[in-house]
Assembly symmetry: C2
Homo-oligomer: 327 residues x 2
DNA sequence: GCCATTCGTCGAAGCGCTTCGACTTTGATA
DNA sequence: TATCAAAGTCGAAGCGCTTCGACGAATGGC
């Protein structure tokens, strides 16, 4: 292993000088810097991450807690992850992967100084991890919005606005009876923050515009989608507008509607709340409200790093939803 | 931050004794051990990962390079990741996430001693990362099979056998004209290891049983699936058996077949090569050859860690494919 | 009853890096 | 020309942990 000492020797300077060349924290004359950089290149030197972390109390690693669990749409998750990783790399950080069911992982990596900061996805309204996060010395950003975000930074799509937007779009297109097909029952039961918020927004617009509007959970299987569609049309046969917040059930919902002789967009309108790519890949390109996973992931990184730099107070950011008409 | 010294003081022993309690590398009397453990609990002490890495040259972190790129089935990827992470945690290791397009990442985390070992997914036949991997001092496991695996450990489903198995199953069901619908063109063009191997196996059985058999890449969009199905049936109208190795195109392939008036399983047979859950979630539960992502990910961890422990030589493991009949 | 082991513990060295004075040199200012 | 500040570099002190060698005490064999 080549060490900073080897580099120093090769460049004819002291180790601290090499360190300052690397960090730029003190000015170094041009010729010296050149020699050091040359030596670094020649020896293909890489600072030892552990030694660096020990001496500087900075690891340049961000912990990311990802839901690898039932009912979560993997492609949405992947988008978030992609956004986080690419942004983190741009800021010269790496990403340590934690899983949702490894609750102790937060404490472990934080107290063990493995990470400088933590990003948590898929937050529930009263998430049990929140007290833990409050106790850590590392800054934290939640993707999602807990009931009480005090002291914690949060970022997410404004799902409540998305619920309103979806309902309003359907109402604006003349539909008086509409329905929200949501995530699978287990996600709803957890009170996953985004699920609840969409419903709230949807109901808000229902009241405001005095629409008839059903809300139904929806499993991701063909059968589950069938049941959900049938349930809604059983209770409210006149339903002609659907807001579907369930990426994986989407094709099956469309399939069931077709089976029942309902054509999209002639007989019923469907608005999808999902990544644009998913809406485009359906049998009919659907009008959709995008879930911009990569963007949100990137923002989360920016927020958490800026909090690291400058001890800024926690803040919440909700991204405005954007609806793109397609059918 | 509480340090090992604090613990030592609280327990009335020296720091080294605490270290030995933690690592078990020397025998410690029961009473002393109890006192130390009590002190650790009281102070909720966590060893500093960086310090530990520096002193022991072990990070207890595994690097995992994941494809976050076009054409890869996210749910399959997620399964691998889940397998790797859960297995790693069981062995008291964490996982650092690297992305495919961050080729320098391998060198960076390895030379910087951020990881003890590396697992690489989605390997191509002549993967440009392979020379890099050979140069690292950390053990490596590839998920996938490069053309020349010498010196590198590999693990994967035996996709060649899966190609044979799929073709043989269709032939056994009486189909004389069959087709393989593969991954998207960009994946085929990369010569991603699994894509090539399925084709090889498929062609092998075609020759062996003198079947008529088409091979066609398939995009994951509805349109792409339509084109692929039409292309096959254009060239070989008598085709009655399909092996589909493309999870995301699967629903659209079925859709297109239905559009053309071909019923599954009455008129044509479809065998899917994908995770079981995906095959079950189609409009008709499909006969399938499972891609056991979690298992493979777990095996990869076992292999890489056992190589860490005991400097064993590299080995390759191919898991036998299992076909489950459904329609 | 003596020597050789084994057991349990400690002290100290060192892992590779950052960072804080402090020192020397140079250039500008009065 | 004398004085001071700034620029550039170095040495040394840690950061918190592991691990090696050493040492006293307890154990066993003869």
């Amino acid at each position: 292993m080549t060490t900073i000492e080897d580099v120093a020797k090769a460049a004819g300077v002291s180790a601290s000088t090499v360190s300052y060349v690397l960090s730029g924290k003190r000015s170094i004359s041009a010729p010296t810097r050149k020699r050091v950089e040359q030596a670094i290149a020649d020896l293909s030197y890489r600072p030892h991450a552990g030694a660096r972390a020990l001496a500087s109390s900075r690891t340049n690693v961000i912990g990311l807690m990802v839901p690898l669990r039932a009912g979560v749409d993997v492609s949405v998750v992947m988008q978030f992850v992609t956004g986080v990783v690419t942004h983190a790399r741009q800021a010269d950080h790496d990403v340590l992967l934690l899983t949702q069911d490894d609750a102790g992982g937060l404490e472990r990596v934080a107290a063990g100084s493995m990470v400088d900061a933590i990003i948590v996805m898929d937050v529930e309204a009263d998430d049990p991890r929140i007290p833990i996060l409050r106790g850590l010395r590392q800054p934290t950003v939640l993707i999602g919005l807990p009931r009480d975000p005090a002291g914690l930074s949060c970022v997410d799509l404004d799902f409540e606005a998305a619920g309103r937007l979806g309902a309003a779009h359907l109402a604006g297109a003349g539909h008086r009876e509409i329905a929200l097909l949501g995530p699978p029952p287990e996600v709803m039961a957890r009170h996953t923050s985004y699920a609840d918020r969409v419903i709230r927004g949807f109901r808000h617009t229902r009241a405001e515009r005095s629409l008839a509007a059903e809300v139904e959970a929806c499993e991701t299987t063909p059968d589950g989608a069938r049941r959900a569609v049938d349930a809604v049309l059983g209770r409210a046969p006149g339903t002609t507008g659907f807001l579907v917040h369930n990426e994986r059930a989407l094709p099956h919902v469309l399939g069931r509607l077709a089976e029942r002789g309902l054509r999209v967009p002639e007989d019923v309108s469907v608005v999808a709340l999902c990544p644009t790519a998913v809406a485009m890949a359906q049998s009919v390109p659907l009008t959709s409200i995008d879930i911009p996973g990569e963007v949100i992931g990137g923002v989360a990184v920016d927020m958490v790093l800026s909090r690291l730099e400058s001890k800024q107070p926690a803040e919440s950011r909700l991204l405005a939803p954007v609806l793109t008409a397609r059918d």
